[in-house]
């Protein structure tokens, strides 16, 4: 049985790493010197030389720089998840300063639209959802604070090491006042928003499953390690033994995620309401209880009602934060074959020594050890963390990681195509003070980033996956970008930032009946509540993140359901109608050409104008005709791909 489980967990094993201290991902990050290249004029940044060396070694040339018009659209879609307006394109085209591109990137990084876009990337990794999913779709009414925290962290360029520590142990950091306490605690949503089996008749199993999910997500998100395998047996590929697993699990078993483990379970929230408001709420609750009593007279009820109304006037709703807290510390015993009913030896809480290069991370006696774990993960000496995050950033910019499996740096993941480049970036990242924005600048200022898609056919044929990064790999924009772009271009996008649209009480079921209404709210998609048990058909069709698992490598499919959405959805038809009204009200001498420029960001060709005019004239009703033409352009490959 054990053997079968091991085989099942392993699958097609490719090699054993046990005892392999020199395994690349565990080796210290080296500050590698950029290689010498033939065409050194081509390189703009050091990182270009690492890539160019590979291209030259293969006997190829890098692809020429894309046109400015293409680049400006690429930068907007990449950093904001929204296409530029015609005016923004013109501004950039007319900017003839030598550093126009650098300036553009700097401006884009200062916009709040940036955090909405890149925060969403991180939310994929954090398997963010506003409801539990799994067996009981209980709502997370305060999870949105974590989402807004993530968006703000990207906008503020919060140092990534701090970002890590807050998400794992923000409650254990000192805070000088309530405001700081709140700011440090909201990140804890990371550990709490995962999917849980909440109606499990076996509370012990429930707790262990939750701990397992937290450890697995933490491992993938920050370390690129699949820790979960070691729950039942020593990890046969990566250096995590079953003892290591239960040493780590002790930290999480000393951490409180739920307040009630019986069916249906309830999760822990920090009440960070101001003290005097808290007192008023306590009084309100006390009076409510009296009012509900049978024996309270009618007059008394009326009077209490008035009193409550006075008390709640201008009383802000309690400030609740979904997040973990501390339990009494405990070391736990190894669960043989993952079964807590068959226990082995006790393991002290701690970080696997194979990960720390033998250094012992001291666990406090009276605290879970989350803070020590978080600090170790976020330390400059940890070779995994900086590599994993710079690789994620690279993946989100270029569509493919230097390590093509961004969530798995272990033996069953793929090897980096450019290991020296990865180290170069990781080194720079730590040196920059863990600044994500500095990495964006570096990557986007590179010559690699500015390449065109129009590569030498031989290169495309020999390197179809673009492992050499010798061209820009055209890719479809993500589900959120499609929806947001259509709303924006039809002048419907509501730029309101943050907050929650969920209508629920803590620990109550999410009401799927609201989904349709949510989907029609013209706010950016990142703000639509994520219902883990259902979701938005239009988003799912375009491969929106599966909020049940941490995933830094979203797939991109092409299926007929996507076409049906673009042909028939309410979003499409409402938006195209709005756009048609704009076209008509413009009274432009050449509306076809205006619309093409508005949506595709380029001059229309003569042929397109003729085709468009004929289409509109033949169609019948003018407004319907322009709506139809707008749908054609919204659905076109040119609109849907980042070139």
């Amino acid at each position: 049985m054990v053997l079968r489980r091991i085989i099942g967990c392993l699958g097609l094993a490719t090699g054993f790493l046990w005892g392999a201290e020199d395994y690349w991902a565990f080796a210290p990050v080296s500050n590698s010197t950029p290689p010498t290249v033939g065409n050194s004029n081509w390189a703009r940044e050091d990182l270009d030389r690492f890539v160019l060396a590979g291209i030259e070694k293969g006997g190829y040339l890098p692809t020429k720089t894309a046109e400015k018009r293409t680049l400006v659209r690429r930068a907007y879609l990449d950093l904001h998840g929204l296409p530029p307006t015609a005016a923004q394109i013109t501004t950039f085209l007319q900017d003839e300063r030598e550093d126009a591109w650098e300036k553009l990137i700097g401006e884009l990084l200062e916009s709040p639209r940036y955090g909405e876009r890149w925060g969403r990337h991180w939310l994929d990794v954090a398997r963010y959802a506003d409801t539990n999913g799994m067996d009981e779709d209980i709502a997370h009414p305060s999870a949105w604070r974590y989402r807004d925290y993530v968006i703000a962290a990207f906008n503020e360029d919060k140092p990534f090491d701090q970002f890590i520590i807050e998400q794992l142990a923000g409650d254990l950091l000192p805070a000088k006042d309530l405001e700081e306490k709140r700011a440090r605690t909201v990140g804890l949503g990371f550990l709490s928003v995962g999917p849980k089996m909440l109606a499990c008749d076996d509370p012990d199993k429930m707790r262990r499953d939750i701990v397992d999910e937290q450890m697995d997500t933490m491992g993938r998100a920050f370390l690129g390690m699949t820790i979960g395998c070691a729950r039942c047996h020593d990890h046969k590929i990566d250096p995590i033994s079953i003892k290591d697993y239960y040493g780590l699990a002790g930290i999480f078993m000393s951490t409180k995620t739920l307040t009630k483990y019986s069916v249906v379970a309830e999760f822990h929230e920090h009440n960070l309401t101001e003290e005097h408001h808290k007192k008023r709420w306590q009084e309100v609750n006390r009076l409510e209880a009296v009012r509900k009593k049978k024996e309270t007279s009618k007059e008394e009820k009326k009077r209490l009602g008035k009193e409550i109304a006075t008390l709640t006037k201008d009383l802000p709703v309690p400030f609740m934060v979904m997040g973990v807290s501390e339990y009494p510390t405990q070391n736990i015993k190894v669960h043989l074959r993952g079964d807590y009913l068959t226990l082995g030896e006790e393991v002290s809480r701690g970080v696997p020594s194979a990960w720390t290069d033998g250094k012992k991370i001291i666990m406090p006696e009276k605290q879970s050890g989350r803070l020590e774990l978080a600090r170790w993960i976020a330390s400059a000496e940890n070779p995994l963390t900086s590599r994993v995050i710079v690789n994620r950033l690279w993946r989100w910019h270029f569509g493919r990681g230097i390590v093509p499996t961004p969530d798995n740096f272990g033996g069953l993941g793929e090897r980096p195509t450019h290991p020296a480049l990865l180290d170069h970036l990781a080194h720079k990242f730590v040196k920059s003070g863990w600044s994500v924005k500095a990495m964006h600048r570096l990557m986007m200022n590179s010559a690699i980033y500015r390449q065109s898609t129009q590569a030498d056919p031989a290169l495309s044929k020999d390197d179809p996956e673009n492992k050499l990064f010798a061209r820009w790999q055209r890719r479809r924009v993500e589900s959120e970008v499609i929806r947001d772009s259509i709303l924006m271009k039809s002048n419907r996008l509501d730029p309101t930032v943050g907050g929650s649209m969920l209508v629920v009480q803590p620990s109550k079921y999410a009401d799927r009946g609201h989904l349709k209404a949510h989907s029609l709210v013209p706010r950016r998609t990142v703000y639509l509540p994520v219902y883990r048990s259902s979701g938005y058909d239009g988003q799912k069709a375009f491969d929106s993140a599966d909020s049940a698992v941490s995933d830094g490598n979203r797939r991109s499919s092409t299926v007929a359901g996507q076409a049906l959405y673009l042909m028939n959805s309410e979003l499409m038809h409402e938006s195209s109608k709005s756009l048609a009204e704009i076209v008509i009200s413009q009274d432009s001498p050449n509306p076809t050409s205006w619309l093409i420029n508005h949506l595709l960001g380029r001059e229309a060709t003569e042929k397109e104008c003729l085709q468009g005019e004929k289409f509109v004239n033949d169609y019948g009703d003018e407004k319907e005709a322009w709506s139809a033409f707008a749908r054609v352009l919204f659905s076109s490959n040119e609109f849907l791909y980042i070139e």
């Binding site: 067996d135 969530d407 048990s533 092409t558 849907l640």
Partner: protein, 446 residues
């Protein structure tokens, strides 16, 4: 690699098959399978199969007495474990002598087409966990649904239709998790058709213009723009498949409503399913719709009937639910047989668990994942069989127990897929529908 993997050459054949599927072609199964399609009639809530198919003389005799065997360590409700005899009786039917409750006269009349597995069991005592276990094989993690796996393995029989349709699924207890493709490609996700009567629609299948010719014009102009765009950029398979996807969507839009529309069915067929009158109308219509989808080539069709969770009021609730369910189920199987489709269509009936022979209150039963009955028909199943049994009181699967993993292994086997070789690599691991478990139940295969 083959040696280390322990999966052998079959996996390579399967990979080749999947590669063909990726190219969008329909595939012959790699092994000779008997079933081409599955229709799963899911009884959400957990029907009391100890009452419906598994009568126990000792349960009648000892009613009111404590359950003499050891009660399970984990139960969903605290119980005094007092036995409760069935409010109904069962009779033997057909050549197999299978026991069927008097509440189900239509199913009783076709027992010689059915195979009863009376020793089903699963691991989870709650709806959500057991439901996910039944649909995906896991009550712990998010995994692809069996309908997704089957489509991933066998590809489409009709490119103009989705390969996996779930009619009126439950939004709770797992919700979309029950028809999700999880880490398999999104195209294998189940298409849910929800709502009442004629409102039940494939998402976005209705053209709001109500005018095919106008939409055709749009798509023609779109194709022209897209082709021009492609010409400027040179051959590119992704851009080309997106161009093709609109044509496929247009065809789907033309075909799906017709397939779904049961109004064209003759009166005697509607009557057979009970789609003509209450209380069978609603579920009868859904079963008829399921047959039409299946006949048109949808690999996996699921219909959900609810809500069998009779913790109290067992007698009244089960009588009502049985009356709604009996005729449509028997009608569907009879209809498939008459059309010569039953041999290649596997029909599966069952809930996420059964109910305890012990009482909850004086007219209710708790969840029982430890022993319950499911039945199958067609698709290479041995007809007229009764397989396995529970203990003398109907609590635990005793003789030849069949876990959901075994059920999955058997379904895949019937479709020509070896469940141990059929894997998908995700996040550095090879996953199977049956995880590391599952044995094909040879005894129920014809």
């Amino acid at each position: 690699m083959l040696l280390r993997s322990g999966t052998g050459f079959g996996a390579l054949a399967l990979q080749a098959m999947l590669a063909r599927e990726a190219a969008g072609k329909s595939n012959a199964p790699p092994l000779p399978g008997t079933a081409k399609r599955v229709i799963f009639l899911f009884m959400h809530g957990g029907p009391s199969t100890v009452d419906l198919f598994d009568p126990k003389p000792l349960l009648s005799r000892d009613t009111g007495k404590p359950f003499p065997l050891k009660a399970p360590r984990i139960t969903s409700h605290k119980s005094k474990n007092l036995l409760l005899k069935s409010p109904w009786s069962c009779q033997q039917h057909g050549a197999s002598g299978a026991q069927v409750c008097d509440l189900l006269p239509n199913i009783a009349s076709i027992t010689d087409d059915l195979c009863f597995v009376k020793s089903m069991h699963c691991s989870n005592s709650r709806h959500g966990g057991a439901l996910l276990e039944l649909h995906t094989g896991s009550d712990t993690f998010t995994r692809p649904s069996m309908g997704s796996w089957i489509n991933y393995g066998l590809g489409s029989e009709n490119e103009n239709l989705p390969g996996f349709i779930t009619i009126n699924p439950s939004g709770s207890h797992g919700g979309a998790g029950a028809w999700s493709s999880a880490f398999l490609p999104a195209k294998y996700t189940g298409t849910h058709i929800s709502g009442k009567g004629t409102e039940m629609k494939v998402p976005f299948i209705d053209n709001p213009l109500h005018d095919q010719s106008k939409q055709r014009k749009e798509l023609d102009l779109l194709a022209s723009f897209n082709k021009e765009h492609l010409t400027q950029r040179g051959a590119n398979s992704e851009l080309e498949s997106r161009i093709a996807s609109y044509e496929l969507a247009f065809k789907m839009q033309m075909e799906v409503p017709g397939v779904q529309d049961i109004s064209s069915e003759p009166a005697h067929v509607k009557k057979l399913y009970g789609a003509d009158a209450d209380p069978t109308k609603s579920f009868g219509e859904q079963c008829l719709m399921a047959r039409r989808f299946s006949e048109a080539g949808v690999r996996f069709v699921q219909v959900t009937h609810r809500y069998w969770d009779s913790h109290g009021n067992l007698k009244k609730e089960h009588e009502k639910l049985s009356a709604e369910m009996d005729k449509p189920v028997a009608g569907l199987i009879t209809d498939l047989k008459q059309r010569g489709l039953l041999d290649e269509t596997l029909v599966l009936w069952g809930g996420e668990f059964g109910r305890t022979p012990t009482a909850q209150g004086n007219d209710g039963r708790d969840h029982n994942p430890h022993g319950f009955t499911m039945f199958m028909a067609g698709g290479g199943i041995k007809p007229g069989t009764v397989y396995g049994s529970t203990d003398d009181y109907g609590y635990y699967a005793e003789d030849k127990p069949v876990h959901f993993h075994d059920l999955h292994a058997t379904i895949l086997h019937l479709m020509g897929i070896d469940h141990e070789e059929f894997t998908h690599r995700y996040a550095g691991r090879d996953f199977r529908l049956t995880d590391v478990e599952g044995k094909v139940v040879r005894g129920i295969i014809a």
